[in-house]
Each structure stands twice: as C-alpha cells, then as structure tokens.
Symmetry: C2
C-alpha cells in the first residue's frame, strides 16, 4: 500500500507502539519474555557479525534476555524500547541497550571472534534493509542521549523517562518542567538534499566535498534553518554552496540518516541561472553533468567521469530517478 | 519563479547572508548604519503596534540604530542578524534584539501607548505576510537561545557566536568542541500535518484537541520521530491519534511555525481503513467530513457543522487545496 522507494535506513519492521512507553508493567513483562530481542550498542556502534549469506554484509547481533541479564539490571545501561514486530501480531518486542563498557567482551566467550562493534560510516551501509531500519531508530535516539544528558535550560542533570524517549530535568523549579518543551525530546534535524537540474533539462549539478572519496560527486545538501520552509532551504543552500539560483522545487522522497539524527528531505529543483561559483569552505568543486555522464556513472562504465554516491544514499536515488531507470538497474 | 502558496510565516523578504555571520567587521558596520532595521523582542514577544491600515492587523516596530543605542551596547541584549533586504541591493540589514527588560518602556516616551509586546498565539497571526516571515526566523532563533543556554553535553554555560546562530560550550575539553555537533546549532523540529482522505475520495478526517475553540476541527499532526521518514511519521501519527491506517502519502507544502521552532510538513494521505478510535490523551474527537461540509465551513456558511482552522495555518491550506477552490475564495 506504499509507493515509497525502499531506500536504506527507511524500512520499518517494528511498530513503535508509543503508547506502551509509559506502561512500566508491560515493558517489564516484555523485558522478561524469552522471545524479546535485545540489540547492544557501545559508543553508538551496534554489535554485529559478518553476514551469513554475503561476505560484504553485516548483521545485527540479536540477543535474548538470558544473554543480557547482567546488562539489564546494571545501572549504567541505557535502554530504549524500539517496538514490536509488525508481522507476528505484536511478538516479539525489541529493545536497544547502550552499555558503557565494550559489550563484545561479554559475548566473545560464547562465540569467539564472531561479534564486533561496527562504526557508523560506511559500515552501517552494509546492514540488510531490515536491520538498517532498526538501527536508524536506535542509533538516532542513543545519539541524542549521548549529547543531551544535561538540561539545556538550566544545566542540571536529567533522568530518562518514557522508555528512552524523554529526558526530564532533575532540578525542581526548572522552566523546562512547566508545559511541554522540546528540550525534553529527541532531536531530529531536517536536512534538504537536492539534485539541481539545468534549465536545459539535459544536465544536473553535482558537487564534491574534500572528504569525499576521489572522483565522487553527489547532490548538494544543507540543514533547514529556523523559520524556513523546505523550498526556501533548498534555494538558500544551493545559492550558498554553488552561487546558482533555483526556481521550482519538487519534493521526491525522504530518508532517515542516523548520523547523528537527520531527516534527509530529497528534492529535485530547477536552476534559473547556470554560472557556478562554489563556496570553498564547504565544496571543493561543483559541475554540470550530462544525462549520459550520469548514466555511465550509474552503470560504473569505464568511461564514467565521476563516481556515484553509494546506492544506500538518497542522493543516489535522486540521480537514478532523474535518469528514469528502473529499480533493478 | 516559485510556485509555493503564500502561507503565513513563509514569505522571505530578507536574504540571510549566512556568510556574513562570522564577519565581525561587516556586522559592526551594519549595526552602525542609519539605514539598519532593529526589531525588539522581550520574552519571545515582538514589539508591535496596531496596523496603520487595518484595525485587526499589527505591525512590527522597526527601529533605527539611534533608538536602540543603549540596548546595542548593553551586555544583557541578545542580538541575531536576520539578513539584508532582497529588493534593495542588500540595503538595509535587519537585526533582532532580545532584551531582558521590557523594551516598551524605552519607547513609550516618544510615542506613548502605541507600542506593545505581542504574545505568540493567536497574536502573531495578525502580522502582515512580510512581517510574519521575519518573525518566523527571529522568534525561532530566540526561542532556541531561551531554552538552550547551557551545553547539553556537559551542563556548562555557553557563549553566543556567528551573529546568533551558534552557541559554544565554555568548558575547555568538552566533547561538543571536537568536530561538529548539533548541540551548537538552533533546533528545528519537523512536524507532519496531514489531511486524511477517505478511501471513497468524498470525505476527509479532521480532529479536535480540547484546547481548540468550540466547534473547530483541524488536520492531525505530530512530531517526526528519530529514524523515521516523513511518510512513516504520517502513517504512525494518524494511526496513533485516530486508529485509521494510511496508505499513500503526498507532500504538498511546508510552513515555518515559530512556536517555538517547528517545520510543518503538510501532506495529503489516503486512508485504507475508516473506523475511528481516537487517542483520548491527544484528541477529543475525530470525524469524517464531506466535501460539502468542508466547503460550508470554508465560506463560513450558516449551515457549517464545524469551524475551519485560521487561514494562516497550513491546515487551512490543506483543506482548501482538497476542495480545489482558488486562492481568493
Ligand atoms: N544541526 C546541525 N548539525 C550540524 N551542523 C549544523 C547544524 N546546523 C547548522 N550546522 C552548520 O552547517 C554546516 C554544514 O553545512 P550545511 O550542511 O550545508 O548546512 C556545519 O558545518 C555547521 O556549521
Ligand atoms: N520536539 C518536541 N516538542 C514538543 N513535544 C514533543 C516533541 N517531541 C515529542 N513530543 C511529544 O509529543 C506530544 C505531542 O504529540 P504529537 O504532536 O502528536 O507528536 C507532546 O505532548 C510531547 O509529549
Ligand atoms: Mg547550512
Ligand atoms: Mg551549506
Ligand atoms: Mg551542505
Ligand atoms: Mg507524536
Ligand atoms: Mg500524536
Ligand atoms: Mg498530534
Ligand atoms: Zn533544567
Ligand atoms: Zn560542554
């Protein structure tokens, strides 16, 4: 019943069941259930192992409550309730546990050498679509906890509530305790990412940052600023980074990007000027590419003049959508 | 060159010129220029006066540097650079000043009784489109400062940088000082707001919160959660608040909503189930309305069975767009 493309990090195998987040009794029963799945994180890296089927894949290490008993009762473990499996009539429930000590030690005994902590980039792109969606949720929430332990309104320590989705200031009388304030809730940063189309319809603009692998070009992108619409953010970022003026903007698709907690909002937009003048602070180079050049890069042709962003990035989807090729290219 | 509807808070008369935010010399010259425009805020309320043309309108009080000299040099004034006017070749520049004391005192002398501080809702809906756009930017940034004075990573005090767009932790060695972290930048909270269409295409679902004026119904809405796409957020929020399952989702338009700093992402979506079971915590009532009922409410017909959200809200636009009526209805 959905028409969205199946972009990495976007698949949702869990129902978040947010109404259960404040139901302590229900959560306790799920925590104790032998079917419940626990994921371990340390320093925002999930515990994984090499994929069973394909060497280049990794898969999340899914543990049962007996295996994590020690961690569950430890006061230094942060727990986030992720949801229940959609397929199986609400069974089993999933939790993410973030530990202050390296949890791979805990498990090496049972299966030496097979588990390891996977850093975010580019490692998390090697997860299956199912696993990536769960990690998008878990890592975003954990990244918020790791940076937002203190109340930004008064500087006091906070306590975790609502199964990992709220932090409440511990100082009685703090302003953040009166009414509802975003300081208590996880942060999601909207980012616009856009393929800029040439007025002639035959070229598109791509840029590269210094940190990109050699030869790679991708879409421009930037954070939505306060008080801005999506469309205004697209025009401003393109103008800032390339000097090009943009007219119409068309939203295409979004992507969760848990580094640390971005909402990528993917658009096509049409340039009304064509002279490029890059902002050297952010962009090393930006150029117009023809459809043929993008097609060559997509199929990794020997003649390709640039390298595409990885297929797991929404920039790849924005380019592929422009070329109009089908999903199994 | 743009096709977006002119929704309240969305108009942009200023070019933000973000590259000037770290140019202290240029900012100082703008601050001193007799053409520069200063807006005053106190406790997030802008200083305004009754509209010159229409009684129900209010207009921002725009001051010159001589009038705010005292505030500009005061250490308790927070300054945010808003940009330069687009029309006039970069002249004049605009700043927002947030004061700890009520600034209307300062000005009453000159023009007694004409200026007052305007609280956000519903007052800011009475601004002109030009003024509303500037307030969307200024109030969102100031709301962030008012709640995020302390470093959320370590609880220390912070200092303001980049003309009001960055706060930096004052504790040497804080993790937030290594690399780039969202803790230093203004927060923008993405919210999905959606008109749910009945599978028969002839009805739409609206709900009302307890705090709404009597008789008013509006679109459902909710915060995008970490690790979610826009479309997933639409489906989850509709399901949570009304029990209705949603299939396809279509993005239509966005709106800046500076209470405190939301990005409203407006969609139409199509229900695949029709039984309504409201979440009593958030929604008092939700119902299916026919096209005729929405049309009656739009034109404020005597027979109307509900009251529309105000025309300044994107919910109003989502309803009007569904009805397909033209802009000057
Ligand atoms: N929420 C945020 N997280 C990280 N960086 C931000 C954020 N908001 C603004 N920035 C700034 O935006 C720069 C990246 O530029 P862009 O992605 O083009 O907007 C970063 O280097 C920061 O200076
Ligand atoms: N950034 C946020 N700001 C305010 N409330 C939030 C935020 N994120 C989640 N919430 C919660 O969401 C509720 C409103 O529900 P909804 O707008 O439907 O998502 C609030 O009462 C809060 O409990
Ligand atoms: Mg930016
Ligand atoms: Mg940028
Ligand atoms: Mg950028
Ligand atoms: Mg919600
Ligand atoms: Mg809700
Ligand atoms: Mg809601
Ligand atoms: Zn506090
Ligand atoms: Zn700090």
């Amino acid at each position: 019943d959905t028409q969205e493309p199946d972009i990495h990090f976007n698949r949702e195998i869990l129902d978040r069941m947010s109404d259960r987040r404040s139901d302590g009794e229900w959560l306790a029963s799920r925590r104790a259930s032998p079917e419940t799945v626990f994921l371990l994180f340390h320093a925002l890296s999930p515990l994984v192992r090499s994929g069973a089927e394909r060497e280049e894949q990794i898969e999340l290490c899914k543990l049962r409550s007996t295996a994590v008993q020690e961690l569950l009762t430890g006061s230094r473990t942060l727990e986030v309730f992720l949801g229940v499996e959609k397929q199986d009539d609400g069974q089993p429930a999933w939790f993410a546990l973030s530990t202050e000590d390296d949890p791979s030690q805990l498990l090496q005994d049972k299966d030496p050498g097979s588990f390891f902590l996977q850093e975010a980039m580019p490692g998390l792109l090697r997860l299956s679509d199912d696993d990536a969606g769960v990690v998008a949720q878990a890592r975003s929430v954990l990244a918020w906890h790791s940076r937002y332990r203190f109340c930004p309104t008064c500087g006091s320590d906070t306590k975790v509530e609502e199964a990992g989705y709220k932090r409440t200031c511990l100082r009685a009388g703090c302003r953040s305790l009166q009414g509802v304030h975003n300081t208590c809730y996880p942060r999601v940063d909207p980012v616009v990412i856009m393929l800029v189309l040439h007025p002639d319809g035959k070229q598109c603009m791509l840029g590269r940052k210094k940190i990109f692998p050699p030869g790679m070009f991708s879409c421009l992108a930037g954070f939505v600023e306060p008080g801005e619409t999506l469309e205004a953010a697209v025009r401003r970022e393109v103008q800032e980074e390339s000097g090009v003026q943009v007219g119409s903007v068309q939203y295409l698709s979004s992507q969760a990007w848990p580094m640390p907690s971005c909402l990528m909002i993917g658009c096509h937009c049409v340039a009304v000027t064509t002279d490029i003048k890059v902002d050297q602070n952010e962009i090393e180079e930006a150029r117009w590419f023809t459809r043929q050049q993008v097609m060559d890069a997509l199929v990794k042709d020997k003649q390709a003049v640039f390298i595409m962003p990885p297929r797991q990035a929404i920039a790849h989807y924005l380019l592929k959508h422009w070329i109009g090729c089908n999903a199994n290219l």
